[in-house]
Amino acid sequence: MEQYYHSVVLEKELCCGCTNCLKRCPTEAIRIRNGKAHILSQRCIDCGECIRVCPHHAKRAHSAPLQEINQYKVKVAIPAPALFGQFNNLDDLDIVLTGLLSIGFDYIYEVSRAAELVSEATRELIRQHKLNKPIISSACPAVVRLIKIRFPELCDNVMPLLAPMEVAAKMARREIIEKTGIDDKDIGVFFITPCPAKVTEIHSPNHADKSAVNGAIAISQIYPQLTAAMDKLQVVEPLSHSGLIGVGWATSGGEAVAMLGDKYLAADGIENVIRVLEELEDEHIRDVEFVELNACSGGCVGGVLTVENPYVAQARIHTLRKFMPVSLNHLDLADLDIMMWDNKLTYDASSFALSGDIFEAMEMMDNLEKIADSLPGLDCGSCGAPTCRALAEDIVRGNARETDCIHKLKKKIQNVYDELTSGL
């Protein structure tokens, strides 16, 4: 079985073994074992829901400390457009970008610039009839991973274009090398990230063997330092080179609107995304050409590593975009090749299938149905599995026992007690 890297990790000492994350995980990837939450690696899509719902802050995401940038001669920040929605009364992106320079970066390439290139590349590929419709956006890595493990028939509909983060890193590297002639390995590119799924994407990309990004720093992590630096700025440098299309990618619908067509759908929030994918798979959604899906409510501004309420951030992004030009970045068709995925998205059946052998799987399912029928159906989570059916599945996989169900155990103990006391 393929082992995945995950950016979502558990702080063991903070976890009290409650069922909050267990019940909210959209792929049923969490089990409570010995009083602590465990993540089933092959099912986790790094959406960050568990980080969001944990009242004990026992779940967190790997994010590089700012000092890590000092390992490189040239330190490059590629900020997600969601960063721009985090500040009160911001009217100029350059304040944020100059702030990034003053906390240690040497060079900035906004991801919103690359987003404009990706939008144009998508329109170009549609024009060339090179995409399968309905086209599903590949920008949210949690969604791409979800499709990979759960929606086999949709893998070919996922747009084989790199996400703006990756394109930004490639473009920044090229610009710096052209300008300075410095060695590629001396350039450290850091994504200022709103979510853990992007951290995972950098460490183990869906689309290629290696990412052009060196690390990801959470927006929430550099926020205090960055706002302090922004307050102290004497001079604001003209660094921004984004239009309203690129900045709009921060919120749900931004990418879809940039298709400049009207047959699109934009869904956000992981449960809504799953519902749309189910309907797409059954071909119930017709007359839609482009499907934008964001795991977080509101889009990237709803990422679990942001600081501001997503709807406040969304409103700010709308205001910021008001007087911006439509797009400031235009695709050189010769670059289309380097923006395409290296590897095709292929379905990984191992995450949910009971066995690779159909005969064995059928045997297990028969057993599973019997066990599931014998469980109380309360889905209480006390056994450590999110539902009774999930416990039945764990049992047939050999990872749990029927007496993990406290209701079954109680019945057993009651029977023993009745037997012992029947003679009295």
Binding site: R150, P152, E153, E278, E281, D282, E283, H284, Y347, A349, F352, A353, L354, S355, G356, I358, F359, A361, M362, E363, M365, D366, E369, E393
Partner: protein
């Protein structure tokens, strides 16, 4: 283990629940690691048939037998029966009422679509007694 049998009651009372059974069957097939093309065809054909059963026959039962190489689906209802099967099979022919047409159903593609996505389809229908729809989807190893 030669087959897995699943049985669902399809309620005719709540239209918004139509499609639930086909969704559950799809989940089971994925858990079996079943051929993905066959899963898709089963899900679409069964969904269409389930909708038909709710619109025209006040619900009924679905019995599914999953074999390693094929899925057999039997949908039985005690509805009014189909007066003219050949006509019902024509693309675009529909007797669905307006209220479901407004939801995007009743385009007269139900039975033609079911035929398209299945390998075998048989209709036993009797006016005033009900309809049995037998469907088979085979695994085509590419």
């Amino acid at each position: 283990m030669s087959s897995i049998h699943l049985h669902y009651d399809v309620s005719g009372e709540d239209f918004t629940r139509a499609g639930e059974a086909s969704g559950l069957v799809k989940k089971r097939l994925k858990a079996l690691g079943y051929n993905t093309d066959a899963i898709r065809r089963v899900a679409i054909a069964m969904y269409e048939a389930e909708i038909n059963m709710v619109i025209h026959a006040d619900g009924g039962f679905v019995d599914i037998d999953i074999y390693p190489d094929k899925v057999e689906i039997l949908l039985s209802d005690r509805g009014p029966g189909i007066p003219d099967v050949d006509k019902a099979m024509q693309a675009g022919f529909s007797t669905a009422p307006d209220n479901v047409r407004n939801l995007g159903f009743g385009a007269g593609m139900g039975l033609p679509n079911i035929k398209k996505y299945t390998d075998d389809m048989k209709i036993d229908t009797e006016l005033g007694v009900g309809t049995k729809l037998y469907l088979t989807v085979r695994v085509n190893e590419a």
